[in-house]
Each structure stands twice: as structure tokens, then as C-alpha cells.
């Protein structure tokens, strides 16, 4: 077996090791390259910037711990932005396994920004039904969530004053890792109840949401860790996303080098086989 053929059949654990090193080293020794802001992320940022103080902002954290590395930085940046603009924040989740995580994120950022539950924000928690919850919220928010996650009745909370249903929400963003996610919020939410909608998602899902973005069904899209890093740059607050971009850069470069190498070995062994054959 030639060297090229041996390299083509290389043990995948060596590739895992290369990826592991490329992920670990930049996290330990960050470089901090500049991050260019895309139009997609700017769409969400600019819209939140344009909202007057006291506007109602709904953030649906539709992800579970598996998608935490990509979507938690997005949620933190969005919440910081909303609190900085003194918007009234309604947080919730459609994924039961993400409820604890969503509660932690909202509580942590609210404490950091000095915001009070019930007055500046409310975390509604989770309700069964998936898309049925969206429809119910569109008809009557208090019917869908009679109490918040801590058991406090939602009717009478000052943060929800004047908010009877999704029609009274000024801007909603769904951070989705699957279904239900951004598409469900558009189909069952924005299409019927006519509020403005933005999206955030994992890197894998982002290309699939471009048709919604291009047609104006969502006005912005924060895609994956890169999108989160762009938002942190816009907020001028370095967080885990910017820290992770160095690791992502190194990993992408490693994969590109591996792919180029494998193609070189492939062509080399193919040419050799052709020479031997004829």
C-alpha cells in the first residue's frame, strides 16, 4: 500500500485528535481576529435599536442543552440589548428540556442588568403543545400562561400591562434549534398575528432559513456561533461567542487542510492506478 493509500484510510481517531487540538489551543491562547458584521445579524440589531423604550420584546428560547454553545451566547446578547434599551421582555420556551437552561440565562442576565422580575421582565416557562402554545398566545396570552415560571399570576404584572396577546408584541425573536422553532413562529405566529419577527438558530439550520429571510418573513437571522459573535461585537461586549470564534477558525482551517490533503492523496493514488493499469 502506498503512502497516499495509507493516508486515505487513516484511522479517524487521528482526525479527531487534530480537531480536538485545534479546538482546545485557541481557547487557551486566544488570538482575537476582527469579526465582520453581516446584514442578517444587523437586521435584528437595528430593529431592536429602533424600538422605543417600553416596547414589548418577546424572546422564545427554543433550544435544549445540546445547542447551548451556539444559542446561549445569542440569548445573552439579545437580553442584554433588550434590557439596555429598557424594553419590556417576555421570555419563554417551547422545549421542555430547555426550561431550566432558559430560566438560568434570563435570571443571570436580568441580575447583571439590574432588572426586576414582574416589572422589567417575565419568564413564562414552558407549556405543552408546541405550536398550539403559539396560537393560544396569539388569542389570549394569559390563557396560555396563567402564571409565570415562578407561579406568580401573569394578570396584573406591570411588565405585561397592555399586552393581551401576541398582537400587542412589538418584536419577537425565536432562537430555535429545531422544531418548533423559527418556522413555527412564523407560520403560527407572525402570519396570523402580524408582529415583527427575527430569528436565531444553530449553524446547521441557518442556510435553511435564508428563504424566510430573503422574502422578508423574518427581518434578521443570527446564525450559529458566528452570528452570536457578530452580535457581541455590535454590543461591544466580548463573550463566549467571540472567544469561540478563534477555535472555530482553527477548526475550519484544519478541515480545509485535511480535505485538500485527502484530494491530493486521492489524485495521486488514482494516477498511480491509471499508470499501473494502462
Amino acid at each position: 500500500m502506498t503512502f497516499a493509500e495509507r493516508m486515505l484510510k487513516i484511522d479517524r481517531r487521528i482526525i479527531f485528535l487534530v480537531i480536538g487540538i485545534c479546538t482546545l489551543l485557541p481557547l487557551l491562547y486566544p488570538v482575537g481576529l476582527p469579526i465582520r458584521i453581516s446584514q442578517e445579524v444587523r437586521g435584528v440589531y437595528d430593529h431592536i435599536e429602533s424600538l422605543p423604550e417600553g416596547s414589548v420584546f418577546l424572546l422564545s428560547l427554543d433550544f435544549d442543552p445540546a445547542s447551548k454553545p451556539e444559542l446561549q451566547p445569542q440569548s445573552i446578547s439579545l437580553l442584554r440589548h433588550a434590557f439596555r434599551k429598557n424594553l419590556r421582555v417576555i421570555a419563554m420556551t417551547l422545549w421542555v428540556s430547555g426550561t431550566g437552561l432558559a430560566d438560568q440565562i434570563v435570571t443571570q442576565v436580568a441580575r447583571e442588568m439590574g432588572k426586576e422580575s414582574g416589572k422589567d421582565y417575565v419568564f413564562l416557562g414552558w407549556s405543552p403543545g408546541g405550536t398550539a402554545v403559539i396560537i393560544n398566545m396569539g388569542q389570549d396570552l394569559y390563557g396560555a400562561f396563567p402564571a409565570d415560571y415562578n407561579g406568580k399570576p401573569t394578570k396584573g404584572l406591570s411588565v405585561l400591562q397592555g399586552v393581551a396577546s401576541l398582537r400587542d408584541v412589538n418584536y419577537a425573536v425565536s432562537l430555535g434549534a429545531g422544531n418548533p422553532g423559527v418556522e413555527a413562529w412564523y407560520v403560527f405566529g407572525k402570519d396570523k398575528y402580524k408582529f415583527e419577527l427575527g430569528g436565531g438558530c444553530t449553524g446547521v439550520m441557518a442556510p435553511g432559513l435564508y428563504p424566510l429571510l430573503r422574502s422578508g418573513q423574518i427581518n434578521g437571522l443570527i446564525g450559529g456561533l458566528r452570528g452570536a459573535a457578530e452580535y457581541e461585537t455590535l454590543m461591544d461586549q466580548k463573550g463566549r461567542a467571540i472567544a469561540g470564534m478563534d477555535a472555530q477558525s482553527a477548526t475550519h482551517l484544519a478541515i480545509i487542510v485535511l480535505v485538500i490533503m485527502c484530494n491530493l492523496f486521492y489524485f495521486s493514488s488514482r494516477n498511480r492506478a491509471r499508470q499501473q493499469g494502462g
Binding site: S38, G129, A132, Q139, G203, P211, H252, I256, C262
Partner: protein, 216 residues
């Protein structure tokens, strides 16, 4: 019995399917009220579905333990895990934290569920690299185009790539916004037509496989 198992569900599907398809075109508050009631019922049924899922799991693994089938030890571990988590959840009233202090339920969530789920998802990064190494070969013209597009997008989506090749950022944006969006739209149209066709068949009783059982 056949009437209850077959005809009644089909009749219910037909009536509710037509009524709620029509509901989309009726803006009257009476129609909205009907939608609200039904979605509340959906939420209630969704809650029961959780119970159903857990009880099926219990049943399947109880059979495995009773028969001492291969791997029954793992079924026992599953039982202990499930019952333990349910007990702790009830004890802490389902709260992960009370006044900033982590509860036992929160401990299970943060130190067992989060790392386990994160690990499964993190494996993808390694698998993507090994799959790419094995499969991204320019065996044909189409494969070569795929390879070049993949390299451009991988470069353009990270700061290092944009630093080394500044044009990769714009090119990857163009690939995503133009090529990718148009192809995704095409797939979306096809899949959506399939979903609409299936929904129409289910409503009018032409498609009955969702009821379970074989053909009649």
C-alpha cells in the same frame, strides 16, 4: 368495533379537517374563539402524550428486566435514573433553583443532563471532520463544484478565513443568499406540496396509515 376503530376517527378527521381549514379564512371572533378552545385541548392532550411516552418506556424496560434479556442491566439503570429524577423533581417542586440556590433537581439538570446532551451534540464536530476527510473528494465535476463551494463557505464564515482571503466573506454571503436560498426554496416548495397533498388525503380519508394497522 370496526365502526369505532375506523369510521368514527375518519369522520372526526373529515369534519375537523374541513372546519379548521375553513377557519383560516374566517376572521369572525366566533371562529377565533373556536380555534382558541381547540388549541387549549391540544395543549392538554400534549401534556398527556408526555405521560404516554414515559409509561411506554417503563413498560418496555419492565419486560426486559422480567425476562432478563441481554442488556437488562441497562434497563435497570434506566429505571433507577427515571424514578430517581421524578422523585427529586417532585421533592423540589420542579424548580432548578430557589432564591438563587441550586436544588437537587437543578443539580441533576446542570451536572447530568446538560453535559450528556452537550457531549452528544459536540461529537458532531469530530464526525463532520472525519466525514469530510472521507467524502469530500473531487471524483466528478459536480463533486469538485461542491468541494470548492464548501471551502469558500468554510473560509468565509470564520474571521481567520476572511483575514486570509478577504473576498471569501462576500463570496460565501453570495453563495448563501443567492444559490443556497434559491435551492432551499425549491426543496421547500416540493416538500410543502407533499405536505398539503398528504393533509388533503388524510382529511378526506384517502390516507389511513396514521390510524395504525395494515390495509383494509
Amino acid at each position: 368495533m370496526i365502526f369505532l376503530r375506523r369510521q368514527v376517527p375518519l369522520l372526526i378527521t373529515l369534519i375537523t379537517g374541513i372546519v379548521f381549514a375553513a377557519q383560516y379564512y374566517v376572521p369572525h371572533p366566533a371562529s377565533e374563539q373556536m380555534l382558541t378552545s381547540v388549541t387549549k385541548w391540544l395543549q392538554i392532550i400534549g401534556g398527556f402524550a408526555l405521560v404516554l411516552g414515559v409509561s411506554s418506556l417503563f413498560h418496555v424496560h419492565a419486560v426486559k428486566i422480567r425476562r432478563k434479556e441481554a442488556g437488562w442491566g441497562y434497563s435497570f439503570v434506566l429505571y433507577v435514573g427515571m424514578l430517581g429524577t421524578i422523585a427529586v423533581g417532585f421533592w423540589t417542586n420542579g424548580k432548578e433553583a430557589i432564591d438563587g440556590t441550586m436544588t437537587a433537581f437543578g443539580w441533576i439538570y446542570n451536572f447530568m443532563m446538560v453535559p450528556l446532551q452537550g457531549t452528544m451534540f459536540a461529537i458532531l464536530a469530530f464526525f463532520i471532520a472525519s466525514a469530510a476527510y472521507r467524502s469530500f473528494r473531487a471524483r466528478s465535476r459536480e463533486a469538485a463544484v461542491l468541494l470548492i463551494a464548501a471551502v469558500i463557505v468554510m473560509m468565509g464564515r470564520v474571521p481567520l478565513g476572511e483575514y486570509l482571503i478577504p473576498i471569501s466573506g462576500d463570496l460565501s454571503q453570495w453563495i448563501l443568499n443567492v444559490l443556497n436560498a434559491s435551492v432551499r426554496r425549491a426543496i421547500l416548495i416540493g416538500v410543502s406540496l407533499g405536505t398539503v397533498a398528504l393533509s388533503i388525503k388524510i382529511i378526506f380519508g384517502k390516507e389511513r396509515s396514521y390510524l395504525g394497522g395494515g390495509k383494509e
